[in-house]
């Protein structure tokens, strides 16, 4: 009898080109996604060494980090350095024969939104991108992780990347998520428990009743933030939900090819009796909406709680980190989260910029008005998401509520484009990082789910969305 294997081991083992003792394994890459910010130096490196892109047919590019989100500026970028970076990507793709989903093509968007929606992302694949949120694609049972620019260059040149084999962890969420809580709240809760380095050196498999009942987009939100606890990747075994999602996607297998693929994909899940280096079980039924209060994604509390007190820290370094975070965030220990008011709201990003996220936010905002003085930015994750949202009339709901409906891109998740916070502005954000200065120097970020962000936009402060008054 064969030794039972985990999902991760199955994907890893089937992609090892060579694994000599004492060296990192050489892993074959099925899909390499490229964007404008972390690729120019890699292409330059190839040119200097007179090397070619080995598999331009397994490489796909888009423009997301830098692109402005206003309809006039996205085609006429004022920031000359950003414009040059984008022009460089276009030139590099053309010279190497790499397909580019350019602005206005109908397929442009955040790299981790378009991969799945185009059917490029498939179960059992190895996927890399010069972006730490590549872990998103693990929702399909792919092994997907972020790499640095030197590794981007390595993959361009060899279609392989050198990797030390990570350890495995399984996090099982039992029960059923209560109404008003989402997979964003669940992953924030997991990161709070593990800490920002609790997953370092691991690939996490998310499992359990809760995860099985999640839609693909909800699963993507979870896997997306795996990196925020330091994990190399997050993965979820593909199932009927996954296969149904794949159907009809432009780059997905079709007809009998799809049936053949599905029968292979069905075998990817962890075998009974497969062992993990670490196992964690979380009770999903007791989850509450989560809000971060500090300067890393592990610093969070339920929306009904108060800002924690550094005097309750477990050790001096945690106390120091809490004090510094409170000072940066302009918060006092003991303040109720529901008494914290916001200046800005950002709904979007590779974490929560998909159609279901926009629907969840629109459902809360429908028939309400944004609190005067609160600036609300809704940024769809891709051109396709934008189009679909407009067909459903979500854009009208947002605009009627007083929010701004923008063009797709990474936008205020990291503020490489003009969408940034002013110093001391406080933002309820559906993105993934609340690091100091992430959304703009001095800006204060609170990570939340799309529903909680939308409720904050209307109330002007954080509220428990479980008690929301939905309007027709």
């Amino acid at each position: 009898m064969q030794t039972p294997k985990t999902l991760f081991e199955k994907v890893w083992d089937s992609h090892v080109v060579r694994a000599p003792e004492g060296e990192p394994a050489l892993l074959y890459i099925d899909l390499h996604l490229v964007h404008e910010v972390t690729s120019p130096q890699a292409f330059e490196g190839l040119r200097l060494a007179n090397r070619k892109v080995r598999r331009p047919d397994l490489t796909f590019a888009t423009i997301d980090h830098n692109v402005p989100t206003t309809s006039d500026e996205r085609f006429q970028i004022k920031d000359q350095i950003a414009a040059q970076q984008i022009a460089t990507l276009r030139k590099n793709c053309e010279a190497s024969g790499i397909p580019l989903f350019d602005i206005g093509s109908g397929r442009q968007g955040i790299v981790h939104v378009i991969g799945p929606e185009l059917g490029l992302t498939q179960p059992g694949m190895t996927i890399v991108c010069g972006d730490s949120h590549t872990s998103t694609h693990g929702a399909f049972g792919a092994l997907a992780f972020g790499i640095g620019t030197s590794e981007v260059e390595q993959v361009l040149a060899t279609q392989c990347v050198s990797q030390k084999k990570p350890r495995s962890m399984r996090i099982s969420a039992t029960g059923k998520l209560p109404e008003g809580t989402t997979s964003k709240d669940l992953i924030l809760e997991i990161i709070r428990r593990l800490g920002t380095d609790g997953g370092t050196g691991y690939v996490i498999e998310y499992a359990g009743e809760v995860v099985r009942s999640l839609t693909m987009e909800e699963r993507m939100t979870m896997c997306n933030m795996s990196i925020e606890c330091g994990a190399r990747a997050g993965m979820i075994a593909p199932d009927d939900t996954t296969f149904a999602y794949m159907e009809g996607r432009p780059y997905a297998p079709k007809g009998s090819e799809l049936n053949k693929a599905v029968s292979l994909w069905r075998q990817l899940g962890s075998d009974d009796g497969a062992t993990f280096d670490r196992e964690i079980i979380i009770d999903g039924a007791t989850l509450e909406p989560i809000v971060t209060w500090g300067t890393n994604p592990g610093m969070s509390v339920p929306v009904t709680a108060s800002v924690p007190n550094p005097e309750d820290a477990r050790n001096p370094s945690e106390r120091a980190a809490m004090l510094s975070a409170l000072e940066y965030m302009g918060l006092k220990a003991g303040t109720r989260i529901e008494d914290v008011s916001v200046d800005r709201v950002f709904i979007g990003s590779c974490t929560n910029g998909r159609l279901e996220d926009l629907r969840a936010a629109a459902k809360v905002m429908r028939g309400h008005r944004v609190q005067p003085g609160v600036a609300v930015l809704v940024v769809p994750g891709s051109e396709a998401v934008k189009q679909a949202a407009e067909q459903e009339g979500l854009d009208r709901i947002f605009k009627e509520a007083g929010a701004q409906w923008r063009e797709p891109g990474c936008s205020m998740c990291l503020g490489m484009n003009p969408d940034i916070l002013a110093p001391k502005q406080r933002c309820a954000s559906t993105s993934n990082r609340n690091f100091e200065g992430r959304q703009g120097r001095g800006g204060r970020t609170h990570l939340v789910s799309p529903a909680t962000a939308a409720a904050a936009a209307v109330a002007g402060r954080f509220v428990d969305v479980r008690g929301w008054e939905y309007r027709k």
Binding site: L26, Q41, A49, S132, T196, D197, T200, A320, L414, F435
Partner: protein, 199 residues
């Protein structure tokens, strides 16, 4: 990649855990298309006032640390974004060695690909080094990658672990791509066996 065998240099302490790559190199400086020019922006939100003047209270602005080549920091150094610009900025500022209780995975790889030696040491070793760096300005360490030892001028002598493959690459300044292309035949065989068809 510049090899690193034995390095003696001034130590700068950053008493902070979870230093993320957004702090090491904030996003507004990621728009360049070259590998160079990032050193001036290292820790820029901590190092400069919004008007561009130096912040007196930041360690690297202190005269004793301006020439530091060894950084000592808290656990989980380099977490967050995959931006290799962080490794480029640290290297261009002059850092060759970083000491911390732990490092984030992607940063560790990026450092290795840029001749930056990252060494994991226990808290009980890191803390006295950071304290010395504060007290004896300038405080020097000699890091010997061949012998895998770290010594100072006050009697400290510790050994450290480093994966043999990483050590080999750093000692000889070897480029990962060159090393991978040696195995081109293996890659081609994999592609043939697994029918990695053209899309």
């Amino acid at each position: 990649m510049e090899p690193i065998r034995k390095h003696r240099g001034v130590v700068a302490p950053l008493h902070r855990e979870n230093i993320d790559t957004d702090q090491i190199i904030p996003k507004q400086h990621l728009k360049r298309i070259e590998r160079t020019g990032f050193g001036q922006f290292l820790f820029s939100d901590w190092r400069y006032h919004p008007d561009g003047s130096h912040r007196e209270d930041f360690v690297l602005n202190h005269e004793h640390f301006r020439n530091a080549t060894i950084l000592v920091a808290g656990k989980n150094f380099g977490c967050g974004s995959s931006r290799e610009h962080a490794a480029w900025a640290l290297g261009e500022f002059g850092f060759r060695v970083i000491l911390a209780p732990s490092f984030a995975d992607i940063f560790r790889n990026n450092a290795g690909n840029n001749g930056l030696l990252v060494i994991e040491l226990s808290d009980s070793v890191i803390e006295p080094i950071a304290e010395h760096a504060d007290k004896h300005r300038p405080y020097h360490l000699t890091v010997d990658l061949e012998q895998q030892t770290i010594i100072d001028d006050y009697g400290l002598s510790v050994t450290f672990e480093v994966e043999p493959y990483r050590r080999h690459r750093l000692l000889h300044g070897l480029d990962e791509i060159g090393m991978t292309l040696v195995h081109e035949a293996d890659i081609a065989r994999y592609e043939a066996q697994h029918q990695v068809a053209e899309r």
